[in-house]
């Protein structure tokens, strides 16, 4: 088996860090021994603080993602299908898109105050643009002959989108969605770190400010694990949905 060989280096580094910290008699506000980190993670997992924070972060990121994705998708489909509208909107999109989403935190804070709504609004803004632009490109890249077939068959706009446009663009839309999921998690945690009293980002800041480096590192590893898990889930779904052996089945 080659699987375990990949673990040799990280485990070795962890063991070395443990030994070195013990030998040096580490007493630090910013570092912690691997065993302390593991212990802090165990405690936080058992008492539910990590899980509660995770649910909060995922709920805010998920809600913002849902709003940003559906708006971006709807507008992207329209702008992709109607080229004139696409050209008209191009300037406005390029004017608003470069605004860093976290730069909106002060103004959104004024509008919504702390809490879910503010975080959801910023995640929605951050995911809206990539979904919009990638949807528009995906729609514009659909084989024109397919659109002609749907015109010749007399499909109206709704059925054209449902039966031809969305299925044809789906593989590319899914890639856009994967990108947006990553952005949603990053932005949600960032908003929490900058002050929102929710979720994993806030838990991280709380551990830092109460001088508990072991818990801080445990949370950091956990955030990485959550991101890795989400991505693995999406990759699995993508392979299942669009893999060569399993194309999207349409019921006749």
């Amino acid at each position: 088996m080659s699987g375990w060989r990949g673990l040799v280096v990280p485990l070795g580094v962890l063991a070395a860090a443990e030994v070195a910290a013990l030998a040096a008699g580490l007493q630090s506000d910013s570092l912690a021994r691997p065993s302390e980190i593991a212990a802090a993670a165990g405690v936080a997992l058992v008492d539910g603080t990590i899980l509660r924070a995770t649910v909060q972060t995922l709920a805010a990121a998920g809600a913002g993602l849902a709003i940003g994705t559906s708006l971006g998708l709807a507008l992207g489909i329209l702008l992709g299908l109607f080229r004139t509208a696409g050209r008209l909107a191009e300037f406005s999109i390029e004017a608003f898109r470069p605004i860093p989403s976290v730069a909106l935190i002060p103004i959104v804070l004024l509008i919504f105050g702390f809490g879910y709504r503010m975080e959801i609004a910023i995640v929605a803004f951050a995911t809206f643009w990539p979904i919009l632009i990638l949807t528009q490109t995906a729609i514009a890249g659909i084989e024109p002959r397919l659109l002609e077939v749907s015109r010749a068959l007399g499909f109206g706009l709704g059925r054209r989108v449902a039966k031809i446009v969305l299925p044809a663009a789906l593989p590319r839309l899914f890639v856009a969605f994967r990108l947006a999921v990553g952005i949603a998690l990053i932005v949600a945690v960032t908003v929490e770190i900058t002050g929102n009293t929710l979720g994993l980002g806030y838990a991280l800041m709380d551990a830092q400010q109460s001088l508990r480096p072991a818990l801080m590192f445990a949370l950091l590893l956990w955030v990485g694990l959550v991101g890795w898990g989400l991505n693995a889930l999406l990759l699995w779904a993508q392979a299942r949905l669009f893999g060569p052996a399993a194309m999207v089945e349409a019921r006749p």
Partner: protein, 261 residues
């Protein structure tokens, strides 16, 4: 011979002084052309002569800038479900994410055929084009000839009065092409559909058609028409050796050479 003879029955499709200008460029000069109900009309001509444009005007995918295309006496205003189009690039015209059944189903969904009736209709249509064994395969798993048969089955699902075929066999090998020519003749005869068949293969045009319309380019216009007085059913060997076939073949080849000179 009377090369400009009108079809005997009342025309189903009539081009009344139809001209087309796209983006300031004259594509078609005014065209007058009648196509009778049940007629098999083949259109030939050098590239850029507007063969496909004529087809798209009947389909309602283009609207004329002058004149009118009349279908059953009424102007064509857009695509209609009783006019079906078979495109040359079958690979692009089929939905790659749907099985053969699913692709035929698309036309039935467009027509609003009740869900319960679809499977039987699909099976019958696939059997008609010899794809009964391949109902669950995706287009990517079918050969070129089979993909084109599948597109034809989808068009037949519309139960069209008019079948528009845009160089449908241009990308197929010779054996497959001949097999499909005979299948299309059989389907046209059994359904009574009017067929408008664009091709660059002169022999194919003579072999299939009741009439061959020859176009000239720059801008596109009707140069000549040839009645094909060959007995039906046509036969790949006997028809192609018929003196009338050879005479028409010579006439058309001379015409094309002259048009391209």
């Amino acid at each position: 011979m009377d090369s400009l003879a009108l079809p005997t029955c009342e025309p189903l499709i009539r081009f009344c002084g139809v001209a087309l200008t796209l983006g300031g460029r004259r594509i078609l000069d005014p065209i007058a052309l009648d196509i009778g109900r049940g007629e098999f009309v083949c259109v030939v001509g050098p590239s850029g002569c507007g063969k496909t444009t004529l087809l798209r005007l009947i389909a309602g995918l283009y609207l004329p800038t002058e004149g009118q295309v009349l279908y059953g006496g009424k102007p064509v205003a857009g695509p209609r479900q009783d006019i079906a189009i078979v495109f040359q690039d079958y690979g692009k015209a089929l939905l790659p994410w749907r099985t053969a059944s699913g692709n035929v189903s698309l036309a039935l969904e467009a027509l609003g055929t009740p869900r319960a009736q679809r499977p039987a209709r699909i099976a019958a249509l696939l059997a008609k084009v010899g794809l009964a064994q391949h109902a669950d395969k995706f287009p990517g798993q079918l050969s070129g000839g089979m993909q084109q048969r599948l597109q034809i089955a989808r068009c037949l699902a519309q139960e069209p009065s008019v079948l528009l075929m845009d160089e449908p066999f241009g990308a197929l090998d010779a054996m497959t092409r001949q097999a499909l020519q005979d299948e299309v003749l059989g389907l046209a005869a059994s359904s009574g559909a009017t067929v408008f068949f664009v091709t660059h293969d002169l022999e194919e045009a003579i072999y299939l058609g009741d009439r061959v319309v020859a176009l000239k380019p720059n801008p596109g216009r009707v140069a000549d028409m040839f009645e094909v007085r060959l007995p039906r059913p046509r036969d790949q060997l006997a028809t192609r050796e018929h003196p009338e076939f050879l005479r028409l073949r010579r006439t058309l080849f001379d015409f094309i050479k002259e048009a391209e000179a």
